[in-house]
Subunit: 240 residues, 4 copies
DNA sequence: TATGAATGAGTGTTCATTCAT
DNA sequence: GATGAATGAACACTCATTCAT
């Protein structure tokens, strides 16, 4: 019993060693340039040991995401529990998206890695399932904030999950754009500033129009396409 | 003189051969899985020849972007020339962002490739400069559309380039999100639908409030943070 | 004493577990592709335990032969005990060689494995001794059948062990030939048919000429080389 | 033109370098223990170069067979052309089987390798086809000798190819048996002697019975099974 | 310019075997 | 005896890039 527990503990510790080393090496060199041998060396472990804990280099990399996803969730839950108005919560969420990136850019890179072609072959089904579960939970948590805003009448009705997709897409898109600009040697603007302004833009779109009476019929979130004079009339495609 | 011109032409033709082959191979296999040998074979050229025209595999890949950037610019200019209201133009631009992706997803992948760590070492300075020039031009062109909307009072005043960044980031962010979801084996929503709705959201944020008189004092685009009643006042977290 | 016996029994049972698992795994995957870990898993035993009972993977493999050699011997003894004429016994033996292969091809593969270069280093001396003893016994048993035929005057006098070598060689040679043909994708003939015909051929060679009186001077088994008329006399090439 | 020819020659020479080195290394270490790196080193060639000429280690190994198959064929043709009686030719063939093994045992080992499971995946289709073609030709050549014997009435009628199979099987089976015995540390008999005696045995089975009149009805090669008293009567299975 | 044969460093992964507990 | 985590040497194969012709 005691032996088993010790085993358990040691196993966990060893895994941590490896994860830490992997974080370092992948962080410094990126996925492609990182080598199994160096990770093993830094973890002070034999190369073979790596493969006792992870199926492949890809799996090692993606596994690092878990910690990030959990940190992400914790913060989300903290925000959710704050005594704030829904719109304040959403802003807190948006701010968090940025601070999280600023603090742990590596996690965003791993997420970005998830779109690599052929990923599904290199990684175990279970790992992918777990990633799905955790990202799904996080998206749901975020969606809840938006939903509360909608139900409180602060935001127009709509699909809250879609809004989260937009926020996430906007943030990651901006991050990538900035990184590309840096890579191109372009003077890259202040991401913090961009981030702040982006929210102002989106929040306006989300919000109930100011003039509308609190109890009035809500302006639908997806509006009719305005018709241009002289332009071919396209059929209005209402909200799904 | 004539000889030189012929030389020039032949050189250009040869380069085109290679570019076409590269487009095919990179398109089918992605950057990593593509091999110089296969590109050479398809271009009906010796492997060594590739390196007479391109410094490296990376350079070959990134060069493909030029054509995309030019197509992009042409369409932008077409839109600019259309007899549309500024807001209609912006919508046309937004639609174009999507149709361009739908038609040439490969270009987006190359753009995405530009954030690879170590790119600057693998690629010639000149190439990067050229990419900068062309992307810059395209961003400017797009920004012009937004600026026109602002000057016409349809949109609130602000930095038009920033708006273009937002639009671009939003679109590419959504594209990546969808690709990740597909890779994770998640039921992936309809990108076209998402794309449409995203615009509705943003456009609202961009627009002058409905009730405001055309000539009235514009509501500043970046608004003051709303204050939460009863909640502990926390500093804005965006800046950090 | 009792304890020791139990120990003994348990030890034997454990060994059986492993042998059974090894038989399965080697049978399914062949020697090379089989792994110690899988054998351990199937035997429900730790990997290390394998090495308490066997010196090496090779030893595990070769040990499987014992069971086969014993089955072989039992059948040989059964045939020996049958109320048959010597030539009928030999045919029964020959048929058995085939049915044994058809039923337990794995054993033939292990035998074939015994000619691997470097075997002696990978396997304990004792194991090899045991294999020698058991195969030797089997060969002797088979030789006895032949000897009986010779003594009965059914077969010409000669070295019975040699005849067994021939029969064994012929059968295993045919088996290997068929397997190679199958591997090459050649239409492979019916081994059963071949097996039958081969015996007809050999039996004739073994037999006393028909016309010779039972008690007559036996035609020597190894005859003088016939001399070719008109052909240049060449030295026998067999010796070299 | 001259350039092309030189290229051709160089290519051939390089290939020979590699083949020679491969022959050495495989010969010394066997297939499994041989390493690509050592072959390259001995051939004074880069490792990658090996793979310009051969698809895989397996292919390298099997390719060595070609030379052997050609030597084999040449000797077969020589024998065929000799002014000998058919039965003398067959003996010459049989002697050759042995001397060939004695001189080039490595080739027999490669042939034996051909029954490795999974070979077809490790080796190109073309290579296998070529092996088929050449072995097929050799078997045909040998069969011709037997057929001539049959047509001359020296041997009983039958399928000459089958006889060749028997001869081949018998020889290779003996070779393997001897190698196993040597590996087991058994005093291994004189293969040359065994080889000689085996032929006496087989030749008798092949031959027309001595007493039969030249023009008489040939005794069928596959005879009726003799019936044992008291044994279950098995149906006679006539020649196919 | 064009060629294409040659290079050779680089790497993820396996697995028989050991040994501290 | 039994365990099973750890080891680490071993290795085939790839492919971007070069350079002699």
């Amino acid at each position: 019993m005691s032996t088993q527990k010790r085993r358990e503990r040691e196993r966990h510790a060893r895994r941590e060693q490896i994860v830490e080393a992997a974080k370092e090496v992948f962080g410094e060199k990126g996925f492609m340039a990182a080598t199994a041998e160096e990770i093993a060396r830094r973890a002070e472990v034999a190369v073979g040991t790596l493969y006792l804990y992870f199926k492949s280099k890809e799996e090692m990399y993606v596994s690092l995401l878990f910690e990030g996803l959990d940190l992400f969730r914790q913060e989300l839950e903290r925000i959710q529990g704050l005594p704030l108005r829904p719109d304040e919560k959403l802003r807190a969420f948006w701010d968090f998206l940025y601070t999280f990136y600023a603090r742990y850019p590596a996690y965003y890179r791993i997420v970005s890695f998830l779109h690599t072609a052929g990923l599904r072959e290199a990684v175990s089904r279970d790992l992918l399932e777990e990633v799905k579960r955790r990202t799904g939970r996080n998206f749901s948590l975020a969606a809840r904030i938006v939903r509360q805003g909608m139900m409180a009448g602060v935001y127009r009705p709509g699909d809250p999950r879609e809004v989260v997709d937009f926020l996430w897409a906007l943030l990651t898109g901006l991050v990538q754009l900035m990184e590309i600009r840096r890579n191109l040697g372009l003077a890259v603007g202040d991401l913090a500033e961009l981030h702040k302004n982006a929210f102002a833009l989106i929040e306006d779109g989300l919000s109930q129009p100011r003039g509308s009476a609190p109890g009035g019929r809500p302006r639908p979130w997806v509006r009719q396409a305005k018709v241009s004079r002289g332009a071919a009339r396209r059929p209005a495609r209402g909200a799904r």
